[in-house]
Symmetry: C2
Subunit: 294 residues, 2 copies
């Protein structure tokens, strides 16, 4: 077993990500004590029942009072209020991290609330499933997956400990700026989710007969979109609101490209279609080559 | 073993679908003799090497001369020329079927070429993978998957035999009109492929750094689109050209819905986003309920 990286960690928000962090930290012995908190009583009860962490507290203040690492795993729209609530209770030298899918907005929302005797280390695990809630988590969710950190202004010792913690869960740590993160994630994650939600919604708005047949014949392509369109609605609502500029920029590019193809279909320009369809083919092979295909 | 449904069947086009039909028919004993043909010499050589069918012929005429069932498993843009080429060699009472992803265009292109002593039974298996070619096929590809037939004007005996053949491969047979097929497939299959090709292309056109990171961080959503964007380029070029009207109609609806969401993001209308994202969630559960999730 690895040496514990932290004496005490606290995870706030016991959804898919938060509960997976706790399971991974428990199974790898990465902290001497793990405290869990969720604002939802039913989630706290569930966490106790399934043994998430060493203790589940009923208040945020109690949850963070002893923590060396506080990990906020809540929707990005809730980060500001969590930061504000925990600030008075944070102990000297605590590191506060988050798992939000947008980084400039979280830094804007969280940093002003935290006391000077703590450090904020924004981060984002590139891992997930279409399932939500404390029972959806599992210890290997982060194994061989990237976990992005934004270490600007955080001291080396704190960054190093956090990296060891993430690597202890099996993650590959990658540092970058918040702005670059938000731009890359807008194209790899936010736009694909928006498109998937849209097309599933478009299908949903047909009359009953077609809607049923969309489900029956989904193996023909539609099914691939339904997985990510089943993701947590509140989490994703907050992502789009909080990374609006980058998402709108990517959406602009996507719309140009789609309009180009639409015109090629209308004018039966077969060469333009075949040219694109041939180029896109090898991207999947590259994803497989670097071990990011399940 | 089931009784053979046909004495002799001929499969033209030995890609994923054609080779899977042969493997399924072989493994289930659905025909006494299976003849295979592909216009590509290298594919014919491969078919011989891996034992696809009882014989592989070098000409279309020879391939179909004895066939009770001829299955055209070629891109929809190639159906007309195949039908024209085989017409003089078809035997009395032969049934000609196809596996094309568009049906009104295939009927328009094929029916005029066939002699009166044969019957044309258009069909479309709702099954596939992102792989192509004779070695990509497998005997269970159609198991528990829908196979749509357009039986208008074909006599009951011929339809019944073909249904037994399809059911022998494990498929669930569903009859409908060509127009309805093209409309439903435009939304379940053609539009999702177009969208996936577009977004993968959009990502591909970034500068090298972002393109690499799109691949590295693809687990965040993008990856789900790369599977169908790796599908056969010629097959899909032909689909869009030959189902242009229905695809453009669905694309119009999709664009309206996407513009609505784009506007909601720009104006930070969180409720509109959450409302849609909540509605789309249960479609995947329904796909699972009817057994169409792998």
């Amino acid at each position: 077993m690895p040496v514990p990286i932290y004496n005490t960690i606290t995870v706030i928000g016991l959804g898919l990500i938060g509960s997976s962090v706790i399971r991974a930290a428990q199974s790898q012995g990465l902290a001497k004590q793990i405290t869990a908190y969720d604002r939802d009583q039913a989630v706290r009860d569930c966490a106790k029942r399934i043994g998430l962490g060493d203790r589940v507290t009923d208040t945020l203040e109690e949850a963070v009072a002893d923590a060396d690492l506080v990990l906020m795993a809540v929707p990005v729209g809730a980060m500001a209020s969590v930061a504000e609530a925990i600030a008075p209770a944070l102990k000297q030298g605590a590191v506060i991290a988050d798992t939000g899918s947008t980084k400039t907005s979280v830094i804007r929302d969280v940093a002003p609330h935290l006391p000077d005797h703590c450090q904020f280390l924004p981060s984002h695990p590139i891992a997930g499933t279409e399932y939500s809630g404390p029972e959806a988590g599992f210890a290997t969710l982060f194994k061989d997956r990237y976990w992005i950190i934004i270490p600007d202004g955080v001291d080396d010792e704190a960054v190093s400990a956090f990296c060891q913690f993430l690597e202890g869960m099996g993650a590959i740590v990658e540092a970058m700026s918040a702005e670059y993160h938000d731009r890359v994630l807008a194209i790899t994650s936010h736009l694909p989710h928006l498109i998937a939600y849209t097309i599933v919604g478009t299908a949903f708005d047909f009359e009953q007969q077609i809607r049923n047949d969309v489900i029956r014949f989904s193996a023909s392509g539609f099914r691939d979109f339904t997985r990510i369109a089943a993701s947590d609605p509140v989490m994703w609502r907050d992502v789009f609101i909080n990374n609006a500029d980058a998402v709108l920029e990517m959406l602009g590019r996507f719309n140009e490209d789609l309009t180009y193809l639409q015109r090629a279909i209308r004018w039966k320009e077969a060469d333009k279609l075949e040219d694109l369809f041939s180029r896109t083919r090898d991207i999947r092979a590259k994803i497989k080559d670097i071990g990011q295909l399940d």
